[in-house]
């Protein structure tokens, strides 16, 4: 029996919602044994009697498993690719600034132009949940929202301007090695704790997203403190806020409204990131082109490979549920 159970708990394939039942090779006498504690079982049935009909009859294996398909999985992985690419672009920009190849002001100008364009695009699409409010009030609320956006943008701009001299000397007493290691870990934290969800449903939690944004901002802060002038620091910080704070919001919105746009953005990001890495490593236009091509091919392979790997791992999935699991209470929040 031990072997029987162990074998049954390690299935060769993921079987959705299959009931495990004892093979009913035998007919038991009727009404002799009941799965009850208060009833006195007949003297023939000792306490360790195991009834083949009812034993483990409520056990369910993999009750809520839905098998993955290859192409939807690849499509979903574009979100991760986008984020990894934007982190790569940010790092390449920093390296360019440190090595003096790129002017920080040009980077932040391009970034700001992109942000402004993104905001205009984001603003032109009406907010997702269409309220039943009349047209006039909606327009005015949108105007108010625009005003508040401009206000907060101005506030961030001024705060960064004021903070830049302080940030410049923040880690003067720390060795550069520590800074590289630390920012590496922080960016990895950012990538792993980033909220890749669509921002809908019950799974949309706020905590991991804030952790990831904070890690990214901290990484760019310590990186910025390695830069020589206040302008450099200000530019990098502003750029990091654009990349890590605002760009994800735009990407999520774009995925909502246009799938084609999302795919094109992914493609553009992959090419840009590949090119940026190529230039950073070798320099020159050829390196950029080679980097773009290599990056695109590698990304496509990784997306396909990881999706296939995840699907092939599904056969090891073995979720056992039964009456012993704590029930999930269903409560209607009627007073909220």
């Amino acid at each position: 029996m031990t072997e029987y159970l162990e074998e049954s708990l390690r299935p060769p394939h993921a079987v959705p919602a299959r009931k495990l039942r004892g093979t009913s090779r035998r007919r038991r006498r009727k009404g002799a044994w009941k799965k009850l504690l208060w009833v006195k079982q007949s003297c023939m049935d000792p306490d360790n009697y195991t009834d083949t009909e009812t034993f483990l009859d409520h056990l369910q294996r993999n009750p809520r498993v839905r098998p993955y398909d290859f192409w939807p999985l690849v499509a979903d992985s574009t979100v991760i690719v986008q984020h990894v690419c934007s982190v790569a672009i940010f790092v390449c920009c920093f390296v360019g600034i440190v090595q003096g190849r790129v002017s920080p002001v040009s980077i932040v100008c391009w970034g700001s132009v992109g942000t402004a364009m993104g905001w205009i695009l984001w603003d032109s699409v009406p907010p997702l949940p269409p309220h039943d409010a009349p047209m006039i009030s909606r327009l005015s609320s949108r105007n108010r929202q625009r005003l508040s956006t401009v206000k907060s943008a101005f506030l961030i701009y001024c705060a960064l301007l004021g903070l830049s001299p302080i940030l410049k000397s923040l880690t003067k007493s720390t060795a550069s090695d520590s800074i590289w290691a630390m920012s590496c870990w922080l960016l990895i934290t950012n990538i792993f704790s980033f909220d890749y969800g669509s921002g809908e449903g019950a799974g949309a939690t706020k905590f991991p997203a804030s952790l990831s944004t904070n890690a990214a901002v901290m990484a760019s802060t310590v990186l910025a403190s390695r830069l020589p002038s206040t302008t450099h620091v200000f530019s990098l910080m502003l750029f990091s806020i654009e990349v890590f704070g605002l760009f994800p919001i735009f990407r999520r919105q774009l995925r909502h409204i246009s799938w084609t746009g999302h795919v094109f953005l992914t493609l553009a990001l992959v090419i840009a990131a590949g090119g940026a890495v190529g230039i950073t490593l070798r320099g020159g236009l050829t390196a950029a082109v080679v980097g773009s091509m290599l990056g695109s091919i590698l990304t496509a392979l990784a997306m396909g490979g990881c999706s296939w790997w995840l699907i092939s791992l599904q056969k090891y999935k073995n979720v056992v549920t039964g009456p012993w699991d704590p029930a999930r209470p269903i409560i209607r929040r009627h007073w909220d």
Partner: protein, 496 residues
């Protein structure tokens, strides 16, 4: 982790011959801490002593309670000083308990070690050491565990370690048995189901004998809830249902006893809905006072989300309360249909079930006055002790393996031959090795070290130098009455 009580019980034949073999119960959880497992150990031990066995209990030291204590009936309790880490559970140290454990076992001439509760590290250690010393072991599981979260996985691995070499396992309900069999990959025939019981004398309804006054359509019906206010006790469900029940039934009152982290939410709900005059919050009550609270009500509401047995349901029914409970865990097995209304663990269904119960009481269809006597016939500690005794006899070899494990031809689980667990080290290592790729090797290492420690202890503190404790003098009369009631396996005897 409750106090391991090592219970060494004499078999009946030995008693009549005038020899006594002691048993010991081991768990982290024992008096003075209140709780279900604690009282289970105490009641079972007392009844086993009544049946002529010698029982001692080994637990860790509580505040102000160290050393050896005697309880009623000559029940001896060893409070071993140990580091307590979390909610009265001791630090899992694997080997450090062995020297004092060996000393106690030799001193008290223990033959069977009976460990309680799967969260008790004391119990797991005692079972490992007892097997090393060549004693028979029994384990009682009191709780249900899932398979998904990290804590459960760790506990299950630990349980597998202990139970891969245990002689027999006792579970408190059939659901609990299924759970334990799955968690520890056990042979189901090595697992017995012996439920908890109640001391029915302590849970008597208010007026006995005289016919009950029928409940009129406008009489107040009181609903009692006694539970710790935790998430897994379903306090959220309770919070959601109370306002709805009270708004649709004006002549209903609630009495809620118990404390816990969810008490604040409950009080907030009362304030938001201005229900203070209809819901009485008593705070924590002692186990002795539970009956006095219960008899003030007509319905007992139990919205728990998981429960292995649910002793409190039996106590409520014994007090003559109609029971409304959620259909989770082992609860559906506990009480017959006419004493309970079951609900799904959903707010709407619980409200509906409670309304149904109120309607049933108002129409005087439910004979709650008969509940006490019926419950008394269903659950008694004497019965539990008798059935536990059969397990002891089975693993001691007093009952033949065919009779003990049963012989069911063609049912799928014939005797695999490994049920009578041999003490040979190589056999033990084989059993532990099968626990997992890495865990198996680690477990084998632990067992080998344990055996080496045992050899070392035998040389360092020789057996001959350990005094034998004198057992508590017993009245012969009790033994004889116990002997005379012994033979029918399911008789409910009266307590002495």
């Amino acid at each position: 982790m409750r106090p391991l009580s090592l219970g060494a019980g004499t078999c009946s034949r030995a008693v009549t011959k005038g020899r006594t073999f002691p048993r010991s119960m081991v768990s982290d959880f024992f008096f003075p801490q209140p709780g279900g497992i604690e009282s289970h150990i105490y009641q079972l031990s007392t009844k086993l002593i009544d049946r002529g066995h010698k029982v001692i209990i080994i637990t860790h030291a509580y505040k102000g309670r160290t050393g050896v204590r005697y309880l009623t009936n000559g029940l001896k309790v060893y409070h071993v000083p140990f580091l307590v880490i979390y909610r009265e559970s001791t630090m899992p140290t694997v080997f450090s308990f062995f020297p004092i454990f060996r000393n106690i076992v030799i001193r008290e001439q223990i033959q069977i070690v009976h460990g309680h509760a799967s969260l008790s590290s004391f119990c797991h250690e005692a079972i490992l050491h007892a097997r090393t010393m060549g004693l028979r072991t029994v384990f009682t599981d009191h709780s249900l565990f899932g398979f998904a979260d990290a804590g459960s996985i760790l506990t299950n691995k630990l349980l597998k370690f202990t139970l891969s070499d245990v002689d027999h396992v006792i579970c408190v309900s059939h659901t609990c048995k299924e759970n334990t069999v799955l968690r520890a990959s056990l042979d189901p025939l090595m697992v017995s189901v012996i439920p908890n019981a109640v001391v029915a004398e302590n849970f008597r309804p208010l007026e006995q004998g005289e016919p009950p006054r029928p409940i009129g359509p406008n009489d107040i019906i009181t609903i009692v809830v006694i539970s710790r206010l935790f998430y897994n006790k379903g306090t959220d469900l309770l919070i959601a249902t109370i306002p709805r029940i009270l708004s649709s039934h004006p002549n209903v009152r609630f009495i809620i006893a118990g404390s816990g982290p969810k008490a604040i939410d409950l009080e907030q709900m009362l304030e938001r809905n201005v229900l203070q005059d209809k819901v009485e919050m008593l705070g924590p009550v002692r186990h002795e006072e539970v009956r006095d609270v219960m008899v003030r009500g007509h319905i007992y509401l139990h919205p728990s989300l998981t429960e292995a047995f649910g002793t409190v349901l039996v106590e409520a029914a014994s007090c003559g309360l109609y029971v409304v409970c959620t259909r989770v865990g082992g609860i559906p097995e506990v009480l017959p249909q006419h004493m309970t209304t079951f609900a799904k663990p959903e707010e709407d269904d619980l409200v509906m079930a409670t309304s149904k119960a109120i309607a049933a009481l108002r129409s005087n269809k439910v004979r709650t006055d008969r509940f006490h006597d019926q419950v008394k016939m269903m659950y008694s500690w004497t019965d539990v002790a008798q059935r536990t005794e059969r397990v002891y006899k089975g693993i001691q070899g007093d009952i033949s393996p065919e009779e003990f494990y049963g012989y069911y031809p063609g049912q799928g689980w014939e005797a695999s031959g490994d049920r009578v667990r041999s003490f040979a080290l190589i056999d033990r290592l084989k059993r532990y090795y099968g626990c997992g790729v890495w865990a198996g090797k680690l477990f084998c290492l632990c067992v080998v070290i344990d055996v080496l420690i045992y050899v070392l202890l035998e040389m360092w503190f020789p057996r001959a130098n350990i005094d034998i404790a004198r057992s508590w003098p017993k009245k012969l009369k009790q033994k004889e009455t116990a002997d005379s009631t012994r033979d029918s396996p399911h008789r409910i005897g009266s307590t002495t």
